[in-house]
């Protein structure tokens, strides 16, 4: 696909998704105006129906929801660029949470070094959790998808068990940590939202992702592996090693997502009844974001908005499933982007001569 198509196609997908959500809402007898006003209010804190001052707490909460799914989006995107589908983000997020909980409560440290150790513990746990499917794929030829899905369940129960072992565990949670990413400063400028320093982690991860993939020779060999594994092997690249490394880096990003949720949004360890879907959100984010860092950042914000608006919608008796339906439609349409562009060209072609696309299966020889 051409550069501008890579931007237009997802935008169209998003518009179509929202359009379908709107139509469904109309059919269910609700006014779509409320849906849009809630969405806008959830993002920037301004109610277009009841004009008043902007409440930045909404904006802060919107970021709180977006941050982890940007990280899981980076996680899925990184694996995908190497030709791997890391569907194990769920489990990697959870073990990342548990590891940072343990590190926060058990490490005899304090201050910023302790905080960094907690983040690293989360990243490491995610990396290890993703190492397992990676190494099984390489050594035993067991598909990463299968192993990673299974490890999602193992991850849930294992991380609950870890949290339960914490000395201060009671009533499904631990005591507050001695350190956290919570930020009175960020809270104060966003009218007491839960916005926390995890945002720095997210920004750093975005930069690392971009530099690693686009600028380094390691990233070059990962991309080569992703595009053409046999070709990379022929060129002497260590394809198997690349697969394992890519899975581990991908897992580390997901683990970091778990760490910032635990250390920033909550500040204490939690026992969970079920996974919270951050890993799966990451798949959508990476897909819509085209697996590049800016795209993932923007797509993370989009899905963050849809996620954060759900409770508010429900309060207005708009079924929160509408947000889910919109997300699902966007994913669907992004997967159909070649077809969508085809339709666009057919329509546009009536007015203007068609511009050429690099054929999908390419050089015929």
């Amino acid at each position: 696909m051409k550069k501008y198509e890579k931007i237009i196609a997802p935008l169209l997908a998003i518009l179509l998704g929202i359009l379908i959500g709107t139509i469904l809402l109309v059919f269910s007898g609700k006014s779509p105006i409320y849906m849009f006003s809630t969405l806008i209010k959830s993002v920037i804190g301004y109610d277009i129906l009841k004009p008043g001052p902007i409440n930045l707490r909404y904006f802060g909460e919107f970021l709180v929801f977006s941050m982890p799914i940007i990280l899981t989006g980076l996680s899925v995107g990184f694996a995908y660029r190497t030709g791997l589908f890391n569907i194990g983000g769920e489990g990697q997020v959870l073990v990342g949470s548990a590891a940072s909980t343990a590190a926060a409560l058990l490490l005899p440290m304090s201050g910023v070094p302790h905080l960094i150790a907690c983040l690293l513990a989360g990243a490491l746990a995610g990396a290890i959790w993703a190492f397992i499917p990676g190494i099984l794929q390489v050594k035993k030829n067991i598909n990463v998808v299968v192993t990673a899905i299974m490890l999602n369940y193992v991850g849930l129960h294992f991380s609950n068990w870890v949290v339960q072992q914490m000395p201060t565990f009671a009533k499904a949670k631990t005591d507050y940590f001695p350190v956290s990413l919570k930020s009175p400063f960020l809270a104060s400028i966003t009218n007491n939202s839960r916005l926390h320093w995890g945002i720095i982690v997210v920004l750093v991860a975005l930069v690392i992702y971009h530099v690693l993939i686009e600028k380094t020779s390691f990233g070059y060999s990962l991309r080569a592996t992703g595009f053409n594994r046999e070709g990379a092997r022929y060129a002497g690249m260590k394809v198997d090693r690349n697969v394992v490394y890519a899975m581990m880096i991908s897992g580390a990003m997901a683990g970091l997502a778990g760490a910032i949720i635990t250390l920033g949004t909550f500040g204490y360890g939690r026992q969970l009844g079920a996974s919270e879907g951050y890993g799966f959100d990451g798949i959508a984010v990476a897909l819509v974001g085209g697996c590049n860092s800016i795209g993932i950042f923007l797509a993370g914000l989009l899905f963050g908005a849809l996620k954060v608006a759900q409770p508010a919608m429900q309060a207005l008796q708009i079924p929160k499933d509408i947000a889910t339906i919109i997300s699902a439609c966007i994913i669907l349409f992004v997967s159909m982007q070649y077809g969508i562009m085809d339709v666009v060209y057919k329509v546009v072609g009536r007015f203007k001569k068609k511009d050429e696309v690099v054929t999908k299966d390419g050089g015929e020889a």
């Binding site: 080569a224 595009f227 060129a235 299966d361 050089g363 015929e364 020889a365």
Partner: protein, 506 residues
């Protein structure tokens, strides 16, 4: 005059390049019309326009005198136009019948009815002498057979204008002969054929007329019977072409590659290479001749490390490399122009410059401290593009997938020859190249030899083997049938050896 196809004043622009520039092509009904031109001249583009894959920027198309707009391949189908692409579009795990009916599955009361389809396919196959079994799986039949399935696919859809884009590039000499007679059959039954090929011999053998393109422009149309191969070559390249390489006597030095008692399994788990021994010295070109599928691929993959060696040893400059990784072999001085350019030779979604850096992406000058040095990568690409005349729309930044097939091949050759490895393993190097490019590539291979490098050339084309080699080794059924001096052998002797008759190793 009765024209089946008229493409009038066709112009087609791609980003950075005019692939067709005011081209006119007129094809007489019930004839075989060849399309000849250098790599990147715009042949495939012109045919893709006819088949509805691209829309022309300017120009019009008439089919049997009627002006038409071919907006997509379905329209082409309705107009009776079919195309065999060089890379077949078949589903490996489906049968021949299932592949042929795909998209227009016959049914009886809503239930898939493959029986009647299979019957029709069998009839068609017999009528044109194609010999295809409708029930075999695609994955189990040879490339030549797969091509016939593509032909049947067109016939099943009642196409009467058939486009073949370099059909012979993937075929063995034996299969080429058969394809030629199939094409003649087709024309006798009333079909019209458009044929792209770089092999002038084939044009002489089947075509009635030939249209020549050069750098997107129409040069002329000739009556094939009245033209010589030399004339056609000159017309297409714009200068005189030497078909044989001028080279001095070889001065072989030390043994560079030594293969001894090598056994390699093929993908069916049987021995594909059996007890194979051969030496290649510095300063000589050894040709490996053989009919396709006699162990050449396994041998090459074993030498390069792409597949495992069962037993035996391989040494390179005296070092035992039998168990070396691919990377280490490359570092020891092995260069490889692979047989399958899309699978091994290139990362199609990379830019041309990225592909040029594929072996050395992590060392200076292309990388420093783990970071890519894009300026150096671009500089290197621009040098190779210039030297080897690799043509594309956007130079070093072109996505390799959008390049013409021949130029993709030139890119691989440029990259490997430029490294000037101690041992150059060359497999089918000139597949899909135009005669001008072949001349240049052959010259460069001989230059490598004269720089005292060792060259092992694997080719299915005896002409190429005889043209380049100093010694010729012949492989049959995975075993070495013999090694002969180029000077003391000829096509006939090699032909016999390729069929398995032994010759004392000298």
């Amino acid at each position: 005059m009765n024209y089946a196809i008229e493409m009038l004043n066709i112009t087609k622009d791609f980003p950075g390049i005019r692939a067709n520039d005011n081209v006119t092509l007129q094809v007489k009904d019930r004839s075989i019309h060849a399309l000849l031109g250098e790599n990147g001249a715009g042949k495939s583009t012109l045919m893709s326009i006819l088949f509805g894959l691209y829309q022309p920027t300017e120009g019009c198309i008439k089919i049997r005198g009627k002006e038409v707009k071919i907006t997509d391949p379905n329209v082409a189908n309705e107009l009776g136009i079919g195309m065999v692409h060089q890379h077949f579009k078949l589903v490996e795990c489906f049968t021949v019948t299932e592949n042929i009916v795909l998209g227009m599955e016959p049914h009886k009361n809503g239930v898939l009815d493959l029986k009647s389809a299979a019957k029709k396919i069998k009839e068609l196959s017999e009528m044109y002498g194609l010999n295809v079994d409708p029930d075999s799986l695609i994955s189990e039949i040879s490339v030549g057979m797969q091509q016939r399935v593509e032909i049947l696919k067109m016939l099943y859809r009642n196409a009467d204008i058939l486009i073949f884009d370099e059909p012979t590039a993937v075929l063995t000499p034996q299969e080429i002969t058969e394809l030629i007679s199939i094409m003649k059959n087709l024309v006798n039954e009333g079909k019209t054929i458009l044929l792209i090929t770089h092999k002038l011999k084939e044009i002489k053998a089947v075509a009635d007329e030939c249209t020549v393109l050069r750098r997107g422009k129409y040069i002329g149309t000739i009556n094939v019977a009245e033209a010589t191969e030399k004339q056609m070559a000159e017309m297409m390249v714009g200068r005189e072409v030497n078909f044989s390489v001028a080279k001095e006597e070889a001065k072989p030095g030390d043994v560079v590659l030594s293969i001894s008692h090598l056994n390699v399994k093929n993908n069916k788990g049987l021995l594909g290479v059996k007890d194979f021994s051969l030496d290649v010295r510095a300063g000589e070109i050894v040709g490996l001749a053989g009919i396709d599928g006699n162990g050449q691929t396994e041998l090459v993959h074993a030498l390069t490390g792409l597949c495992k060696i069962e037993s035996g040893t391989v040494t390179l400059n005296g070092n035992d490399i039998t168990n070396y990784s691919i990377k280490k072999r490359i570092e020891e001085g092995l260069g490889h122009i692979p047989e399958d350019r899309h699978k091994h030779g290139l990362v199609l979604d990379f830019t041309l410059e990225e592909n040029f850096a594929i072996h050395a992406y992590n060392v200076e000058p292309f990388a420093k401290n783990g970071f890519l040095n894009k300026a150096e990568i671009t500089k290197n690409a621009e040098r190779l593009i210039e030297q080897f005349d690799v043509r594309s729309g956007q130079g070093a930044k072109t996505i390799t997938r959008s390049m013409s097939g021949g130029n993709q091949q030139k890119a691989i050759i440029a990259r490997e020859i430029d490294r000037s490895p101690e041992l150059l393993l060359v497999v089918q190097p000139t597949r899909g190249l135009d005669v001008g490019a072949i001349e240049y590539i052959h010259k460069r291979i001989v230059e490598e030899r004269d720089k005292n490098k060792a060259v092992l050339l694997v080719s299915l084309e005896l002409d190429e083997i005889l043209n380049l080699s100093d010694r010729v080794a012949v492989i049959f059924n995975g075993e070495l049938t013999g090694v002969v001096d180029r000077k003391n052998t000829d096509e006939n002797e090699l032909g016999l050896m390729m069929a398995g008759s032994k010759k004392e190793v000298n």
